[in-house]
Symmetry: C2
């Protein structure tokens, strides 16, 4: 039907989360019809991100600079550190604009099933960040899933020995909920009602 | 939150049909995490399409060559011509691999509401293609909408003067359709076009 170039584009788009083969075809048709207003801007945006993309060596955020915009922002409160599982969680929390501090991305969660152990996550770098001093409060913002809470317990155990106040998101989170899917109101509630971790 | 490059990419993706702001953010995160397997292939595919994209001057299909792959294919039956409203319709019909002939894309449908007149569609070029000879049958494959059928009536009037056989897609029950769930218009069409049962 279509040329191999168009097929390749359809397949590349179909692999994005949220797009299947049918919606990828619709997207390709849209791009081809709206060459100046859709295809070219998307191409330029991808090029810009592709050439500048990097992972923040401090917090693990993905951004087009290192350190990332959040770590480099002097208006951020360096005394508060929010620990999240994934970059998507960081973005979700940051969109709510309620957390004035900085972040730390673990890169996953402890999981016996998937064989994810503490050394597979950015936990040692987190401990080092805390040992360097300057952080007064660590907010654990794991997903309200079994594995997320297991990770939070493990972190509480490790961080509990350090001289920082340890809090976690209030359990206004619905059981089984994932940060990236929650509305900002729920996130705001959970952040505002964060509590000290009982040791 | 994110840099302006990432924002621009998110916005460019969010404008695709089938993607909204949330799914665009997920797609961007996916692209940034899977740089080698997702971002780079998508970028290359877009570049390839962007540099070679053209509209077929014969049939109106969008492809990376002119004439398009269908018009240039010698195995296609040039005596059969299927007229469709949009390129998306051409692709949908061609995927079924049931039509052995070539296509003609009108680029829309007659619409009093949207002010689309016959001269806004590729009707004159269709008539010229037919007058050049070689086409025995024209299949009108407009959508089964009011505007699609208005367009089909108009085309039937114009083409009726030429020495070609004029047919249109059958209207009736869709495969898998249940009477109880079908609209009265479809049922009326199916009843009116009822055929003798082959014994």
């Amino acid at each position: 039907m279509a040329s191999s170039e168009i097929d390749a584009l359809t397949q590349a788009l179909a692999r994005l989360p949220g797009l299947g083969p049918r919606s990828a075809r619709r997207a390709v048709l849209h791009l081809m019809k709206k060459r100046e207003t859709a295809l070219t801007p998307l191409l330029r945006a991808l090029e810009a991100v592709s050439t500048t993309l990097s992972t923040c060596s401090t917090c693990g955020n993905v951004d087009t600079r290192d350190p990332c915009a959040i770590c480099a922002d002097p208006r951020r409160d360096g005394a508060m550190l929010c620990v999240v599982e994934e970059v998507a969680d960081l973005w979700a929390l940051d969109r709510s604009r309620l957390f004035p501090g900085r972040f730390h991305v673990l890169g996953g969660r402890l999981s016996a099933l998937e064989g994810v152990r503490p050394e597979d996550l950015a936990i040692d770098t987190l401990i080092r960040r805390l040992e360097e001093g300057g952080v007064d409060e660590v907010v654990l913002a794991m997903n309200a899933t079994l594995e997320g809470q297991t990770t939070a317990h493990y972190l509480a155990d490790r961080i509990g020995r350090l001289p920082v106040r340890l809090t976690q998101l209030a359990h206004g989170l619905p059981v089984g909920g994932e940060l990236d899917y929650l509305d900002e109101g729920t996130l705001a509630q959970a952040l505002r009602a964060r509590r000290p971790v009982a040791s």
